[in-house]
Symmetry: C2
């Protein structure tokens, strides 16, 4: 197809999705939960087909020489799939984010203002090679009353096609029109999707910083950036050494491919002499490669020198850069300059240092004496997440159902006009908040 044909075909798809989504938006919680249950059932029935499709994806990726961390994300075994389907059922149990009354206020007798949550409309989600992400995203979209146009990584096309086919089968027996879920598979379609601001209300690109930036530069649709996680731990001069070692090791090695794993360790110069050899040994036992700045190399002469690029690199691997700083202020400045506003932690017993760190580090998550790996929708108790937002505006951090809805102001009057409340004899407003 020519770019024009792709755009035209995608335009039709998006219009259908929007149409279907506008009816989904009006469905009751029960109807949405029934649809979610039916989707879970259909995914279970299609288990073998999905796993076979994934096997084919994995074989093709191996033949293409895929990198090991990417392969791990792509691979969908029976266990991962079962967990993902259980996750769909969990989303069914979460509170409905739609229809919540945020404001209910009498402006004057008989003039009532309400602010009520409602779906955004249609989500465009461009995600990486992790097929179970599609399952989670679809269930969150349905529960929040939104249509969703998915674009999966090219490595996962067969898996995602099998998943979306099962989802559509599941939906076909429910009140939810299967058109609410669509799958795109080519890069050309991604480009066309970014132009559909008439039909798509939010783009969620999951990937590298440069990819998120590319998307931001090529669309007028609002973008919720799930970008790199360049997370830091700062070991303050008042840190407890044992805590510092345990948390550093966990945050680096527990799952290095996760965006909430740390990439850089900042250490106050007055504690570096005692702490560095110990943490280096603990990390060496886990096969972590260390890269240090000049002062770090004076203490650990055997490690690799860090270059300027290291401070802005998400390794997603068993590699950690280390820098010695003169003060808390310098640590905060480094984090705000090189971090990705994801999650950064301080290890210290000094409450004043915590307060400064929490106040001045400009990240979605600021942690004290615990691992950055806790920055996650499940661990926060949100049930599920569509991504982790590193933008400044809400929704920020792990985004669950709450981040997929907006609100409307609904006003009901009895012929009220503004002229009554204007000018010399203006009637005052009462502005009384009401109980539901």
């Amino acid at each position: 197809m020519t770019p024009l044909q792709i755009a035209s075909s995608l335009n039709d798809i998006a219009q259908q999705t929007r149409q279907a989504a506008s009816l989904l938006a009006l469905l009751s919680t029960e109807a949405k939960n029934q649809a979610i249950a039916s989707v879970a059932q259909a995914l279970e029935s299609a288990k073998d087909k999905i796993l076979q499709a994934n096997l084919a994806d994995c074989e093709a990726a191996t033949a293409d020489g895929i990198a090991q961390p990417l392969y791990k994300r792509l691979q969908l075994d029976e266990h991962k799939l079962r967990d993902a389907i259980a996750g769909v059922r969990d989303v069914g149990k979460l509170a409905d984010p739609v229809g919540q009354v945020q404001i209910q206020r009498e402006l004057d007798t008989g003039l009532i203002l309400k602010r009520i949550t409602c779906p955004l409309g249609v989500l465009g989600i461009i995600f990486e090679a992790r097929p179970e992400a599609a399952i989670q995203i679809i269930s969150l979209a349905i529960k929040s009353g939104n249509g969703v146009i998915l674009k999966c990584g090219k490595e996962a096309v067969r898996s995602c096609e099998a998943i979306v086919a099962a989802v559509k089968t599941g939906l076909s027996t429910t009140d939810v029109n299967p058109d609410v879920v669509q799958l795109l598979t080519t890069r050309e379609e991604t480009l066309a999707l970014l132009q559909l601001d008439k039909y798509v209300d939010l783009i969620i690109p999951r990937g590298s910083n440069s990819f998120v930036r590319f998307v931001q530069e090529n669309t007028r649709i609002p973008v919720l950036g799930h970008a790199d996680g360049i997370c830091h731990i700062y070991i303050d001069k008042a840190a407890d050494i044992e805590t510092a070692i345990a948390v550093t090791v966990d945050a680096k090695v527990q799952y290095p491919a996760a965006c909430n794993a740390i990439e850089t360790l900042l250490i106050h110069q007055s504690i570096a002499g005692e702490f560095l050899p110990k943490v280096a040994q603990a990390l060496a036992e886990q096969q972590v490669e260390l890269r240090g700045d000049e002062r770090t190399l004076q203490i650990l002469p055997e490690i690799v020198p860090a270059t300027a690029t290291d401070w802005e690199t998400e390794y997603s691997d068993f590699i950690l850069s280390i820098k010695i700083v003169d003060s808390l202020t310098d640590a905060i400045a480094h984090i705000n300059q090189y971090g990705s506003r994801h999650t950064d932690a301080i290890i210290t017993e000094d409450v004043a240092a915590v307060e400064t760190f929490f106040g001045l580090v400009n990240s979605a998550g600021v942690f004290h004496n615990c691992s950055t790996r806790f920055a996650d929708g499940f661990r926060y108790g949100f049930g599920a997440e569509v991504g982790i937002s590193t933008q400044q505006m809400p929704p920020r951090g792990p985004v669950g159902l709450e981040g997929l809805v907006t609100y409307k102001y609904q006003m009901t009057g009895a012929g009220h006009i503004v002229a009554t409340y204007t000018g010399a004899n203006a009637k005052p407003f009462t502005h009384q908040d009401m109980k539901e």
Copy 2:
């Protein structure tokens, strides 16, 4: 200056603003309120200077042949200025939007998650020729802990320079660094401002749809669009005729230059014969020019025919387009196609029609039996507003202090690591919400 010099100088200004704002973010409510009181005092002391500067702006604009509605917005008399200064004092009385605890949850013993509101950082606000808007925006920015870079319309440069000078004088005796407020005056600076995603966290363009679109296409910074208001009233077949006339007249003529005034009247065909002649007479008494579709012309043959452009035009003037529709569904389709997602009203006594209208009209405000002119931060009881957002994502509708803050997740542990909560012997999370 060359574009490069402008960019470099603006970069320095933005960096200063960010630096000053990061300290403002940590100030207590009392310190911010003192600063706001001092700003109000300084504006009062500078009243004569500001009014003289405005007079010079108005004279220059008249010489340039400014349009009448724009002139009215530009003109700042003693009364408007007094109201604006009173508005500053009102902002001082509003609750502090910063530091509010939105979530406080125990994930496990000793591992506490909080979500706390915090300032966005630096706002970039590009506004039209209304000088008192600068006063309101500055007070909202300070109260919400944000720095603000203002770019005013070229007609209002003298007025805004006088206002910002007074504000800086007011701040100079307080804990708030005067650098938190900056004024830009040229179009070249606007373009450079849009590139400063490193220092500016939110752009609020106030102006036409095409201007907002231009801004969205030329920046990676999130944009809060305060665009055209193409608002509608739909007169349902079950409308009370008297209510319909009173609300239509108010929504059109009470202040036609406002974005929440209506531009198009949609009328159900079965009520048009009775309603149209009456409303036409009421509007004629207010010198409103009517433009009708073919069916309207059959009832009101003396009025101007409407063309396709009329449905997408914000007149901001005593002009109203009229269209007869066959059904509620057609009215909703027209609104969703041509409206600007601002505020749209239905006049009816039929509750089922209201429910359909509220559910399917995709606008920030959906009103029943009252004037669209109520869509306003003051009237909603928000105290003040920085603009009315016509975007889909929150903040939507009138944006007050609440829309100028974001949040951080703060987690405090005692050496907690994720490994404890993972794998075969994973400890479960407690996820207990806590009282403050």
